[in-house]
Amino acid sequence: MKHVSRILSTYSADTFGVCSALYELGGMIVIHDPSGCNSTYTTHDEPRWFAEPSQIFVSALTEQDAILGNDSRLITDITAAAKELQPRFICLIPSQIAHMIATDCRAICRILEKKTGIPAFTLPTNSMHYYERGIFFALQKLAEITCQALPESAAPTHLPEAKWLSEEELHKLRQKKGKALRVNVLGATPLDFAMNGSIDSMRHWLEARGCHLASCWAMGSDLDTILASHEADLDLVLSYGGLGAARVLRERAGIPYRIGIPFPHCASARGDAACPPEGPAYIIGETVFAESLSRALEAAIGLPFTAIVPMETDDELLLPGTLCLTDEDELSPVLREAALIIADPLYQPICPAGAAFLSLPHIAFSGRLYEEHIPNLIEADCFADFTKKILGKFQQNRV
């Protein structure tokens, strides 16, 4: 039955995606919710919470205030905290109840701006969507702010085509430019990339190809760097969460974008997989991650892999053959035919015993539970180990 999970976990929510995307930017983020959201996010979905301060709070909405529509307490509380903490901006995001009673968060933000002098905005969250949508809205909003000061005339008349990342094309672009390409990386949060060095690896990967990481939205770059990033030459979309920002930057600042994560592309393990498995090989995960990994593994092993995307996505990102399956009931019959499944360990209970299972933890699904075991597959050594494990699984299954 749709909506029902007998044993599966759930993906992180849109509100938490917003928090994760804006975490390092010096703003104050207030989840308008009774209780528990803040603790859930900071326990399971935010590996930076212990060591790196950020202003993420919950409004502690009460039944009485919800029923009577009393927003004045919320305004007073945010104003008081903002005056003390002086954040760069205030972001108010509704959770389920605030959404349901149609709290006018835009009006509240206008009042907050007047009372505090601090820019305030809201995003259309409701805790009933998954995290990628929250990242999408948050980064799209940042892109709008980034382009706010650009004159209308800066907008291109012809929109460059969006394509998947290709090393050859990047090389050509670099040569055409004649100097280092300035690249914005869009859609990076610990929910998809953990704290395992992936972003540093991305930087090294770009630098090795004559590019310069102008900004990373939003891990490791501060707000001022991001606000200046409309001068970049290229945007690299790492997840669905970065797509909205990429579109805004393309339409307003004329920056073209490419899609994909630069996993190593090598054919080193092809010979080892001479005998194809009896059934499909699936990778379950975020759209760009799962598809990029599928392509990289196909190149490395010489066998087809199919991405399964169980969360919000966009047609523009979907490669032919990618499956969009969300519920346990939709996933189970497909997985029943699989020879290999690469997914977060919390998917294993619905995977058939006959299929090989290779664990690839994903913070957005299992939270912090397996975070220490998330490999940084952008690094060649790590990727090679991973392909060896896949081949080992295939061989085990044949035996």
Binding site: M1, H3, V4, S5, R6, I7, S9, T10, Y11, S12, A13, D14, F16, V30, P34, S35, G36, C37, N38, T40, Y41, T42, T43, H44, D45, F50, A51, P53, Q55, F57, V58, S59, A60, L61, T62, E63, D77, A81, E84, L85, Q86, R88, F89, S95, Q96, M100, G117, I118, N126, S127, M128, H129, I145, L223, L227, L346, S366, G367, R368, L369
Partner: protein, 448 residues
């Protein structure tokens, strides 16, 4: 454009957040406001408590954001096979018969479980109040359609917790309602505590010495064993969230109840043991030896710890002010108490501290400013501070702390004695703060 319109804020003074207890209001010393969540996770939540009921299955019906915390609690406990969910989506708020969604969802889950559970703990959420969901009908139908399964009417509705039963109180009452009426035995049970009462528990010893069988809701190996709590003549509770449950059990099953508040006062402990003995029809216990052992242990701890500042937080024990009074009476130097509110049960201790130790700092744990307040840096050498509880340890940034929640399930003179030993150990041996405070439901199963 997001331009900074004011100078960078300087470091916050501590006085912006804390208040000397002498000037603190009662029972709410701090204004209501936005809430911060410190990264200390040892406390138990409703999923942890629900998992204490063997062979029971939990089903939560809520949005992804609410679901995330509870499903990952079950995952971190390694008990996902006892947890299911029905996830609410946007269209369910307007275009869905939510009663039928619950009925169909529960039926689907039960049909796919490898074994039929003995009980189902069903948790609708805040949104079901606002939707006017007819839960009476839902439970009536569930019982009709699934005979042989006991349904517990739980709730995860934090939006109502300031004016109604909290989810924790309601859960315990719902668990109590799973107990059948059985012929009463000379048996007492601990009801509603998350942590198992240790063998040396003073009340347990008194009961056993007088021929009473003792059971514990937190220590049942099977559902049948849990149901045996229905044969108890007396329910004992220490967790204040259990009161609605034991009241309900008295009404429904005529089970007497007795409150063992987690007091840290020798006279109060002795009084409670006398009252319990009277209730049991037993001889008054001689507490001299237990009391001496506790005093001696505290003396040894004091000799070592001396005037090292001590910070206590509200998660360490249900009675942090009582504990502060005990330590002060024995010459310890309590300087900080972290408590967002004062329990009405602790008013006497609060007034006592106001009168005799008015400079103790009272700190909140949820105030937004705490997020930006720098945590102290300690030089190497003798501990600069000893903390009792995870939040006190985090805010004081001290590796010298006793890592415990809810008093560790202990009670009485034996609890004081054990605490003194723990304080000595914590003073002597530092701990990694982050590694020790991240685990949820301290004392329960965890894969972390």
């Amino acid at each position: 454009m997001l331009k900074r319109i004011s100078p960078l804020p300087g470091p916050l003074p501590e006085s912006a957040v804390c208040v000397p207890i002498g000037r603190a209001g009662f029972p709410a010393p701090f204004p209501h406001g936005l809430e911060y969540s410190p990264p200390c996770r040892g406390t138990w939540n409703i999923v942890h408590t629900g998992m204490l009921i063997p062979e029971a299955h939990q089903i939560f019906i809520c949005a992804a954001g609410c679901l995330r915390g509870v499903v990952l609690t079950a995952a971190e406990m390694g008990l996902m096979e006892r947890f299911s969910s029905i996830e609410l989506r946007e269209s369910d708020l307007t275009g869905r018969d939510n009663e039928q969604l619950i009925l169909a969802g529960v039926a689907d889950i039960l049909a796919h479980l490898p074994e039929k559970p003995r009980a189902v703990l069903l948790f609708p959420a805040c949104v079901h109040h606002f939707l006017g969901c007819n839960l009476r009908y839902v439970y009536r139908e569930l019982r009709r359609r699934h005979p042989g399964i006991d349904f517990a009417e739980c709730f995860m509705d934090p939006i109502r917790q300031t004016r109604h039963l909290t989810p924790e109180e309601r859960l315990r009452r719902a668990i109590g309602r799973l107990l059948p009426e059985l012929p009463k035995k000379k048996q007492a049970s601990f009801f509603g505590n998350n942590l198992r009462a240790p063998a040396e528990h003073d009340a347990t010893r008194l009961l056993r010495e007088n021929g009473w069988a003792v059971r514990d809701m937190a220590d049942c190996a099977s559902y049948d064993e849990f149901r045996e709590l229905g044969a108890s003549s007396l329910q004992l509770y220490t967790n204040p969230f259990s009161l609605p449950a034991v009241r309900d059990l008295r009404e429904r099953l005529q089970q007497d109840y007795f409150y063992l508040p987690q007091v840290w006062d020798e006279d109060a402990i002795e009084r409670l043991l006398m009252q319990l003995a009277e209730r049991l029809g037993a001889k008054a216990p001689d507490c001299t030896e237990a009391r001496q052992r506790a005093e001696q242990a505290l003396g040894e701890a004091q000799d070592l710890i001396g005037q090292t500042p001590i910070a206590i937080d509200l998660t360490f024990t249900f009675r942090p002010l009582s504990l502060a009074c005990l330590l002060l009476r024995h010459g310890f130097h309590v300087t900080k108490i972290y408590a967002d509110a004062i329990s009405p049960e602790e008013e006497a201790d609060f007034r006592d501290l106001q009168e005799h130790h008015d400079d103790i700092e009272l700190w909140p744990t949820k105030a937004p400013l705490l997020r930006e307040l720098s945590r102290p840096v300690h030089a190497e050498g003798a501990p600069a501070c000893l903390s009792l509880g995870q939040k006190a340890a985090f805010f004081q940034n001290t590796p010298h702390f006793v890592n415990m929640v809810e008093g560790g399930g202990r009670w009485g003179f034996s609890a004081i004695e054990a605490l003194a030993h723990d304080m000595i150990a914590a003073y002597r041996t530092p701990k990694d703060i982050e590694a020790n405070v991240r685990r949820k439901g301290l004392g329960g199963p965890s894969l972390l």
